[in-house]
Symmetry: C2
Subunit: 149 residues, 2 copies
């Protein structure tokens, strides 16, 4: 449904939102290590996110990435739109070109409510709100293998 690129972008943006600010910028390398994604790949993604004004960056020593108040008003939808394109979230689960209430695929009425639900979540909550929720609930965002015992 989502490409790995979008997933990386979402996770690292949420990570940024929680852990960085204009006063505490973070380098790609640190973020990549924290959530365990390949750092040159993440660097590329961040270029796109900066371009789309979803995150901010400053070059040079003490530089890095961070999220401004304005950035934080963007949504996860904006991330997906800029990396994968929103259609990726809307495609028919079985790949039919025309699949809607009028002409549904065999699983349309199972998939459709889910899509509406997740799209709503991604569109109606700002990244800052989303990030706050994640932090409040103590959720991890890393791809690392957690050692829970």
């Amino acid at each position: 449904m989502l490409s790995r690129a979008s997933k990386y972008a979402i996770l690292s943006t949420l990570y940024l939102a929680e852990h960085a600010s204009k006063e505490k910028k973070m380098s790609v390398k640190k973020i990549a290590e924290a959530i365990d994604v390949p750092s040159p790949f993440l660097a590329k993604l961040f270029q796109q996110l900066v371009h789309a004004k979803i995150i901010s960056s400053i070059k040079g020593p003490k530089g890095g990435f961070f999220i401004t108040k304005k950035n934080g008003e963007k949504t996860v939808c904006d991330i997906i739109e800029n990396i994968d394109g929103l259609h990726k979230l809307n495609e028919c689960f079985l790949g039919l070109n025309e699949c809607d209430g009028e002409n549904p695929c065999p699983v349309h009425f199972i998939v459709e409510p889910f899509k509406r639900n997740i799209l709503g979540k991604f569109r109606d909550k700002s990244i800052m709100e989303f990030s706050k929720e994640v932090a409040d609930n103590g959720r991890f965002l890393t791809l690392k293998h957690l050692d829970l015992d």
Copy 2:
């Protein structure tokens, strides 16, 4: 979520279930045309499905693919398992390695019920039952651009 290969395999198996039988076998070419998928690619997929005893085939003139009563007892889950592997249906929506009720990703509680739902549908209904449902509801299974006006 599902690869194109799995989607092709599901659609064409359901198509077979509805339109072919031991008495009326169908060639790859005809099926590929009917649902508009690349026929050499479908041929490859069908090899795997025959191997997994999800569909049957006879070589030579008047040969082709069809579904026996025994075949029809298999499920869509079986198809997915043989083409993509079932894990594809179970992966975390945001790509986290460990994502469950104990340690949920930010959208886990939206995604999990949906996954249970669709997995149930794919596992508890046989291909024959599934196909009957599709036929009864007059659903189309083609990837073609339908001319509805």
